[in-house]
């Protein structure tokens, strides 16, 4: 789940790779890194950002489906992390806190774009999470599917066709590394509901990949 390191070898982040490794061990917990950053240790934030930037970015990108919007939302998420550093209390996993910020930012984005108003909750929903009410993306149109020949593209297309609640649970599980209880707490859903969502998402994706065996 850790975000990959920028492998370009140049660019704005080249100085980060050139910098000597700070006195932060690789196994330092995220919570300790965040506390260190709250204590003005900028290097701790660098490590945290390097670890999680990929997961958060993909979490946002898979939800909104547009790179430009994802860039903006992703930056907002980390700016919120920076601003909230002083109030951070390691009562839970850092990733739970981080993805909660991302989750809330996404909801704000959907509310701002009016998407939440277009949807209604299903009869079997046991939560008021706005993600539950979001409709599935419409990327599974025939013309779209025809262009997705690569596995990754087909997977991406299949994922985009999932209901938002399933996408949310699946992404938090895959990209955030959160377990069922953490996802349930973050989304305000029951653990069993989260488990069902993930199971349905995996089943759908497996079905899409079935003919690529």
């Amino acid at each position: 789940m850790n975000g990959g390191v920028d492998c370009a070898g140049h660019g704005p982040l080249a100085y980060l790779r050139a910098m000597p490794a700070p006195a932060i061990a690789a196994e330092t917990r995220d919570e300790d890194l965040m506390l260190a950053y709250a204590a003005a240790d900028a290097a701790a934030f660098d490590v945290l950002y390097t670890r999680h930037k990929g997961g958060v970015y993909r979490y946002v990108l898979r939800h909104c489906g547009h790179a430009g919007v994802a860039d903006e939302l992703f930056q907002d998420v980390w700016m919120n992390v920076i601003r909230a550093r002083a109030s951070y209390v390691p009562s839970a996993k850092f990733t739970t806190w981080l993805y909660r910020i991302a989750h809330n930012r996404l909801i704000d984005h959907w509310r701002a774009t009016g998407q939440v108003e277009l949807v209604t909750a299903g009869p079997d929903d046991d939560t008021d999470d706005p993600l539950d009410a979001l409709p599935a993306a419409h990327n599974d149109e025939p013309e779209v599917r025809a262009g997705a020949r690569e596995v990754s593209e087909r997977l991406k297309t299949a994922f985009a066709s999932l209901p938002a609640a399933q996408r949310e649970a699946f992404l938090l599980h895959q990209e955030g590394g959160l377990d069922l209880a953490e996802i349930a707490a973050l989304t305000g859903s029951g653990v069993e509901t989260v488990k069902s969502r993930i199971r349905y998402a995996v089943m759908k994706l497996r079905t899409e990949l079935g003919d690529l065996q």
């Binding site: 003005a40 660098d46 950002y49 930037k53 990929g54 089943m203």
Partner: protein
């Protein structure tokens, strides 16, 4: 495509799906976004290093030190003003005090001791006129000469020279520094009770002729004082009734320091003629004084 592993019995993961997802998940934020985020992170903590456990505070609270410095300076200034004696704040420079005949209650610094000394001396010398004058109920309007001067406790040396330093005149004795208010009051203290607040001219106009003649001329530089002087001088010229010793000495001094040396010499001669023991009564500056030859 990676080799799929055994299927998860819970259905929460599938090896093929996981592998495909890992292959798919290569997107990274643009380098510009990385740079912006990291720069913001460094800027937030770089400009204001925080100690461990420190909490972010609003901008106004972060900029507390200029306000604290201003408040401290203001508090020190108020404290210094509070600790400064009030007389230093309000007392004008002695040399710049306006001389007036207007008696005020603000400066009546003459202590009782200063008033009793000349009176006792007068009684001792057997002069009944001093007793009559001191016992008179007519208040002196010219007693306080320097109302703004607050020096209620003159030194003994000052008291000794009080009779010779009457009416706010410059101190002729080098040994005694100028203390116009205290000494002036002491010289006028033959009318011991504190006078009511009344202009000198009005007081002089209300005096009976003999009392007015017996009064020393006020020595103020005001017009009212000068008018009173002239009235008293005329009365004294008509009736050469002897003045009280202190007042007579004060008159001689006033004439001397006003440049009227001839008048001063005349009065001094009259004083000597009126008092056999003038050598004893006259202060040293008048005892040895000779009018300059014209």
């Amino acid at each position: 495509m990676t080799i799929p592993g055994p299927r998860d019995p819970t259905g929460l993961s599938d090896p093929r799906v996981d592998a495909a997802w890992r292959d798919l998940s290569r997107e990274e934020p643009p380098a510009s976004v990385d740079a912006a985020v990291l720069a913001a992170a460094r800027r937030e903590v770089g400009a204001k290093p925080q100690s461990t456990g420190a909490r972010e505070v609003p901008a106004l609270r972060r900029q507390w030190w200029p306000l604290a410095a201003a408040a401290t300076i203001a508090a020190i200034a108020v404290g210094v003003l509070q600790l400064t004696p009030s007389d230093r704040l309000v007392a004008p420079a002695p040399d710049k005090t306006v001389v007036t005949d207007m008696p005020t209650t603000a400066a009546r610094p003459a202590p009782e001791k200063a008033t009793t000394a000349p009176r006792a001396e007068a009684v001792k010398s057997g002069r009944g006129d001093n007793d009559a004058l001191a016992g008179g109920a007519t208040p002196r309007a010219d007693a306080p000469r320097r109302p703004a001067r607050a020096d209620p406790a003159p030194s003994p040396g000052k008291r000794e020279s009080a009779a010779g330093n009457a009416h706010g005149m410059p101190e002729p004795f080098p040994a005694a520094p100028p203390q116009p208010a205290a000494t002036g009051t002491a010289a006028g203290s033959l009318a011991a009770p504190a006078p009511p607040l009344r202009p000198a001219a009005a007081a002089a106009a209300q005096l009976p002729p003999e009392d007015a003649a017996a009064r020393p001329a006020p020595l103020a530089k005001t017009a009212a004082g000068r008018a009173t002087d002239s009235v008293l001088d005329e009365a004294r010229a008509k009736d050469r009734a002897p003045l009280p010793v202190a007042d007579w000495i004060a008159l001689i001094r006033r004439l001397r320091y006003e440049g009227k040396s001839a008048d001063a010499a005349k009065e001094l001669a009259a004083f000597r003629a009126a008092h056999v023991d003038h050598e004893k009564l006259l202060p040293p500056d008048l005892r040895d004084w000779r009018p300059p030859q014209q």
